[in-house]
Symmetry: C2
Subunit: 107 residues, 2 copies
């Protein structure tokens, strides 16, 4: 993953409201959630949420699809995996990162 994109994705997640949105979308699964539902869950003004969703989509971490009058946003799991893989490399200098794998890869 490219350096600038890594920074952009980190920045997209490095904000309380956006990280909350992303977690919500991960929980929601591949179908995602309509913007309105997200705004409701976080108690944000429509304009504010729209700003954050743009930030996340711009970074490639979430995807938008129109469905009727609604716009559904969903987490891009592959993009998140790319990010985590990049961080793991940077963290471990290319070596396997045992503690992380012990926690997440068992069984």
């Amino acid at each position: 993953m490219e350096f600038k994109q890594t920074v952009q994705r980190l920045a997209a997640l490095a904000q309380e409201n956006r990280l909350t949105v992303f977690r919500l979308l991960v929980q929601a699964g591949p179908d995602g959630l309509a913007a309105g539902r997200i705004a409701e869950a976080l108690g944000l003004a429509p304009a504010t949420l729209s700003f954050h969703l743009k930030e996340l989509t711009h970074a490639g971490l979430v995807q938008a699809r129109q469905e009727g009058r609604f716009i559904f946003y969903s987490a891009d799991f592959a993009a998140m995996n790319d990010l985590i893989a990049t961080l793991t490399e940077n963290c471990c200098g290319g070596e396997p990162c045992l503690p992380v794998c012990d926690n997440t890869c068992k069984e």
Copy 2:
């Protein structure tokens, strides 16, 4: 890992100069590097680097130790592993995150 700390650590890494510093420190290994060497490597003004190092140490991602006249900074691998583990959980909803593990945990 706590939510706010996660945001703080993401924010610490979500800046080109700081991510570069962190990667440099990961490369440098447990001994780390003196602040001056880092400034030299990045071509930053001392005050600017000091600001970024404070940001990283405050987030708990790097550690500082005095050695003679120098201050050596080193990556805190455990903290980075915590961060990655937290992101992996958020990314995969608690499920194992196969693509990441395939890339990083083999052999």
